[in-house]
Symmetry: D2
Subunit: 367 residues, 4 copies
């Protein structure tokens, strides 16, 4: 593996630079016979698309996906599904001034030393633009998980800077440009973002993603745990610096008598585990939280070095999201979907014949 | 992959149940020609060994490792190194009473539904006993990284319940049974643990692991990022519920002007990135933090269900660590070592020829 | 892995159906800094292109490749190189009559039962058209192997039906449409093929591929042997039914005193091993032979069954190669290149530091 | 992957040198709930054991396997099954004289250059002794395939030197020390071998392996074809120089009208395909043939070089099989079983839901 393929049985191989001709991926391992249309994928891409509000980058990309293979008469054939998204709005000139300097917080310095060559335009391969293909591939995974198991995967922005936005309803999430789960916070967030944008600075965020109706028994017990694979998947998203499952870092101060989720025939009494025990799904909601760092591209000048190793100052004037967390919800959902479909297929491979004599207790928390 | 192999070029394949005949692993991919003795591995195992203080499980395991292959005349040959640790102190009778019930917070319920069969004794494969083989394999990785690149990997307990223990010195860490980096806290911790143990309850913890002298340029840029692989590795450790790189969840409230580490020819001015940008090492210290949940095995009775799906109560009276975080430091170090050696080898494969014209700036923070 | 990715460190992920919009691949793992132009790839594709003589299929495909990523200012960047070839001459109507029947010798019946759905047009994914992407990816591997190690990979048609064509010179191979290594046989072959074509039948062939200047020490010793990977690679080519390394099936009747290649300080005295001992390259020419079955698509009517399971007759009237072996030489070369580059990179990963005190003996046979 | 793991879903990770403390493997991915006893594995090992007749090596190894994990109350648990075989009869002194020379036809020279270090005793890791673990792992695969699908995997020696032994009956195979399928040839073979042994030379052989009752639809269509994986598996066996599927190299001289297997509702009319079309099983017998080179260790002196690169002569006087093909039948069967179980699991992962409307035609040839 050379690092651009995600998954073991449902594999996504990604390619493309921010300012090259195109980005795209090959999705290998999708079971045959599922109806899949262009719209199924485009719908998810549109949720992530730049330029949808003043709070996100103004880069104009239609992000129109072309399906190159793997579909016959509207259905998946079981062969690789190749997806292609042409780049359109590539203002490479915006990046001329950083060709020779390393932007702080960016992968410029590390790419340069790793490869000795880099496509500096828009971050090249390190650009968050690559995440569009994750969303496209994730759309296929989401659909299959939903049709086959009734699984619903959704996420929301649970914190922006110091502003914690509690969960109110899923309906709220899609009604506002911040993906927060309580629309009453929108005005506060807009003011905050307007001030921030004027200041030339950026801010971090926290997202929460939830998968409902995951069957009990998915995940491998030692290394390829469901939570380990979620840790890997989430941390592979640009700008993510932390991942939690269920109670996450709150577990540090919890007692065992508080953390361990009690069980009754009517269901679990809590979900501190975040739906995973011993690396395997419990049948409860799978819950993950991620920390997203503030955008590194800011207008404020910062100290750096150039290719000659000399001191320089860098300020970034391209079109950038002041909070990359805002558009990251569809990406986090996609990554969770990719993890789950992989484990769904693994489970079928190894445990298709298992008949467990014990009744499954409901996954939802009992009130 | 069936989930019991870690790594792509430096692969550890683990086997064994807590109360079966043995645990062990096969380490495949270690470069040839490195001196490796039994003591090199045993030393690390002894750091993790149970029964070393009253604050950890009293199970008596000598954890003596046998090297079965891959060494010739005291040196690695490049062929698989098989390591075997016989189980000795298996009080299976301790577990008779839980054969038919599912312990809250444990993998009992999930294993049972996944496999339809399970070795319930001591958690079987889900037992933290499996982590001994990680420590053994990690010892090999650590040695190679140190000899070849001068890398030093160390960790410490940075928080136990509400007690935050700041970093004072590495010398402190090995001088106390808690692996804290300031021995002045030891008395407070001992009192806390004694009270906790009497109460029959358990507590969570937070660990910090650091790798020094990692060269710039290790890690893949998209999925197999260095941080993604650390996320995967750490989350695969029993009881871990959260992983942070560098600033981690603190990034949520940081501004871009604060988070992005400025660079000077004399070095970076901070390390919020935790030594990783765009998934690739920066040359600074690689820093990760993990959240460890409280032990699920506690003496306090808890609600659960049995195999028949009926309500039951479970209290665990075996020999258990009241804080699994205490003995987890060597494990977290081992996992970090396994991630780093894998990326070291990948880097050699793909980038062995790279000559970068730019001088590397010092990894250590400039005062 | 879902079966459409070749390689472990230099990975080719292939997609596309014969009569869909396009075929292509993602090449992941190419080291950075190698000059790579469109022409480097197109040249190899043109060698395999249909319609170049009357002895091969008259399907008209320009097979023009587009490079979508991974190249910056004429050099590989170390990121995935995506290659796209649009399909042009898709006479799907040719295949209307076989939509409901299974052609003998083809994958129709097996795909149908495996997937329950299939893109029947031109064999869909099972079409030899997929091999174009192997040739494109192989061109990159070939170039790197040549520039970095001086390796030359070439092949020729060594037998067509009963006509054995001995090796005379490499110059001959590229001067005739059969890829035979002695142009004196061309007239005989043309007559044979003309007669065959008129008869409506097809014929098998044997190819030989040779890699010169492979260093000693490439290949893993147990499962991922160099010869095992060549066996896998060659057998994955459509219509291949047999693979030999060096003496191959002649070894069955050889004595040990004949087969084992003697060594002198001036070089090996023979090469029955085909350049591989214990799965590892010896420094001699790596030599493989493959058996290619006769084209299954023939005009002669044959017994088969239809989707309803009823008896039917099938005769194929599309445009087909009467001997698929003729155009297969570039494909076999490409597969050998893909195996070698993968082992080159693995070797660098694990054995980059090895310094062997023993002088290497010349790989070429001493006269 | 570092080359010592076989399989993707049913993975065998092998370790151990010929004259080290032990050999063994970890089998990961075996579905849970299958009854598995020590005897199930030992029985297959005994078929391969050295010292059973005067025609094979006189090394005395009981090859007693110990199961270290993965079995609970007589059944597989779905967790890794570790198998250990201690080495007993290690006459390392036999190898003292070759420590500094490279035996022609052996991996001595290639290991030395690859690793710069080698365990020369008995070939170390390159020894055919490693194949014992394949047979042990294959026994598990065989049992599962038989219990779950009724698959029977058997092989026989079809040629020894110039002596071709046609197939008469499976009963014959187990009644003679040569594994030939017609016991009337035994006397001729014994005479041949006695003469050969006295001469100090060795001879090659050809084996045939057959899997009956393989369902239609197993195998991936492009790279991980069933035949490609068989090619890889067979070529990974020590001393194998060629692999054929079905008609194999006979395909070269066949016409399409002869090779393509016609189909009728009552079954296929022939099996030139060897049970595989387009990389996917047809439901007919899967048939493979392999060429095994003559033993390289012979008493006749041969030219070679030593570690200093100087001319030397090597004659081998240890205990060696004069025809390694004789004991290779259980190994080839094991490798075929490992390939098939892997594809069985893959098929369940991806195609578990497929319902094909077309009736399957019988796999057996119609008379």
């Amino acid at each position: 593996m050379s690092g651009n393929t995600f998954g073991t049985l449902f594999c996504v191989t990604s390619f493309g630079e921010s300012h090259g001709p195109a980005i795209g991926c090959v999705v290998d391992g999708c079971p045959p016979g599922m109806e899949l249309s262009h719209a199924d994928i485009q719908r998810e891409l549109d949720r992530r698309k730049p330029g949808t509000s003043r709070h996100v980058t103004q880069r104009r990309e239609s992000d129109t996906v072309e399906i190159l293979s793997g579909i016959h008469e509207g259905k998946t054939t079981g062969t690789p599904i190749a997806l292609l998204i042409r780049n359109e709005d590539q203002r490479s000139k915006d990046y001329g001034n950083i060709a020779d300097s390393f932007r702080p917080g960016h992968a410029d310095y590390t790419y340069w030393h790793k490869y000795g060559i880099r496509d500096h335009r828009g971050g090249g391969r390190a650009s968050a633009r690559e995440t569009a293909v994750r969303v496209a591939a994730g759309a296929i995974a989401k659909k299959w998980l939903n049709e086959r198991y009734g699984i619903i995967i959704r996420g929301y922005l649970s914190q922006l800077g110091e502003i914690v936005v509690p969960f109110m309803s899923w309906e709220s999430v899609n009604s506002n440009p911040f993906f927060v789960a309580d629309e009453n916070y929108v005005e506060q967030l807009e003011k905050y973002m307007d001030t921030l944008r004027k200041s030339g600075d950026s801010i971090g965020a926290k997202l929460t993603v939830v998968a409902e109706h995951v069957p009990v028994g998915w995940g491998e017990p030692v290394y390829d745990r469901l939570d380990a694979d979620i840790g890997y998947a989430m941390m592979s998203i640009n700008a993510v610096k932390g991942v939690e499952i269920g109670a996450g870092f709150s577990s540090v101060t919890q007692k065992g008598s508080e953390h361990g989720d009690e069980m009754t025939p009517q269901g679990f009494l809590s979900n501190h585990a975040g739906g995973i025990l011993g690396g395997i799904s419990t049948g409860q909601d799978v819950v993950a939280h991620i920390a997203i760092k503030p955008t590194s591209s800011i207008r404020l000048p910062r100290k750096s070095v150039n290719k000659a190793g000399e001191q320089t100052m860098v300020a970034t004037h391209g079109r950038h999201d002041p909070c990359v967390g805002i558009r990251a919800t569809p990406i986090a959902e996609a990554m969770l979907a990719l993890v789950l479909i992989d484990h769904a297929l693994r489970h079928r491979a190894q445990n298709a014949d298992v008949e467990c004599p014990t009744p499954r207790i409901p996954g939802k928390i009992q009130g």
